[in-house]
């Protein structure tokens, strides 16, 4: 503490105010997070900030000040750990939403843009084979130069082979970036990238916060399906299940009557047509054999 006190004596007032501002925000909000805004144009950032206004506060400040602010927090405050995530182009976020909602809100700001020379591939970049909109020209050679096998078919440039042009984590060259741009491949995701968020005593990392809604929907469907199956199997009659139960019983009854068979008026037409289908199936098996079938039957199965 003494060292910090000593340190702070060298800090100008506006910096002290800013540090206090950060600490106050951490204390007055339910959650505090660090967001990576690398690659987001300033103008877009302003738009996002407006869109999130009232729900999420985006606070742009100097990394050094954020660092000092977090380190000035009491030892037992979890938010101190956020100092470890201060790196690169970041902004602070404060909100009273829960971390999952914050994550969703921030994810929604993301969009895909073309790569620039020097960008790191966030995932394997693959160029699919198939037609392009280019007319024959020097583009073919340019594509070849960056390792994309191209040719001309029917007066159009086509990609001849699906090819992984950059592996995840590798740098994208300026030339390749240009070609990818012309092929309308947008490999770079730009937006508010939540790096870490603290709520109370819990640190959440993006992996903790990514909830697969499709999978969740699937789980709900599965759970509902299980409940339904259980009702059908155990004969549990509720308002929701009584009609399906009646239908199940009806279908079981018909199935039994047809398959036994039990001669009941309601199913005689099914039984008769089942017999006929069987007969036709057998007849079909011998249709090619001379004289095995009469003319009428032949005409039916051929």
């Amino acid at each position: 503490m003494e060292a910090e006190a000593h340190h702070s004596t060298h800090i100008p007032q506006w910096k002290k105010d800013e540090i206090k501002n950060i600490v106050d925000n951490v204390h007055s909000h339910r959650i505090t997070g660090i967001v990576d805004v690398r690659g987001v144009p300033a103008s877009s950032l302003q738009v996002m900030r407006q869109q999130l206004r009232g729900i999420v506060t985006l606070h742009m400040t100097r990394n050094t000040l954020s660092n000092i602010a977090f380190n000035s927090l009491p030892e037992d405050e979890k938010a101190r750990i956020l100092a470890e995530h201060i790196d690169g182009q970041i902004v602070m976020v404060y909100s009273n939403e829960n971390p999952f909602r914050l994550y969703k809100l921030l994810e929604a700001t993301k969009s895909k843009v073309p790569a620039k020379g020097g960008d790191i591939a966030p995932e394997d970049i693959v160029v699919e084979k198939g037609p392009t909109s280019f007319k024959p020209g020097p583009i073919v050679g340019e594509l070849q130069q960056v390792g994309i096998s191209a040719g001309i078919e029917g007066g159009k440039v086509v990609i001849k082979q699906t090819k992984k042009v950059v592996k995840k984590g590798e740098k994208i060259s300026a030339k390749l970036a240009e070609m990818l741009g012309r092929l309308d491949v947008k490999p770079i995701e730009v937006g508010l990238n939540l790096k870490a968020v603290v709520e109370g005593d819990t640190l959440y990392m993006p992996a903790d916060l990514a909830v697969d809604e499709v999978a969740l929907k699937g789980m709900f469907a599965q759970a509902a399906g299980h409940a339904f199956n259980l009702c059908m199997e155990a004969g549990i009659a509720t308002k929701d299940t009584i009609e399906p139960l009646i239908q199940k019983a009806t279908m079981e009854s018909k199935a039994l009557a047809v398959n036994a068979p039990i001669f009941e008026k309601e199913v005689m037409d099914i039984i008769l047509s089942k017999a006929e289908v069987e007969m036709l199936a057998v007849a079909k098996q011998v249709a090619g054999k001379e004289d095995a079938l009469d003319e009428e039957l032949k005409s039916k199965v051929q």
Partner: protein, 70 residues
Amino acid sequence: MEYVYAALLLHKAGKPVDEAGVSSVLKAAGVEVNEARVKALVAALEGVNIEEAIAKAAFAAAPAAAAAPA
């Protein structure tokens, strides 16, 4: 399912599907009747058009017949 079959049987026989009816059909089958289940069944059937429910199943069960004529 025996409770459901009892209900269908009564319905088909043109009898009211009530607690007394369901219970006595089940008893005749040698089933030890659970009153709560009978009540739940009868309650669930309230307002349900059994004939319609059956007809829906009939469609699914007999597509050959139903679908063919067109």
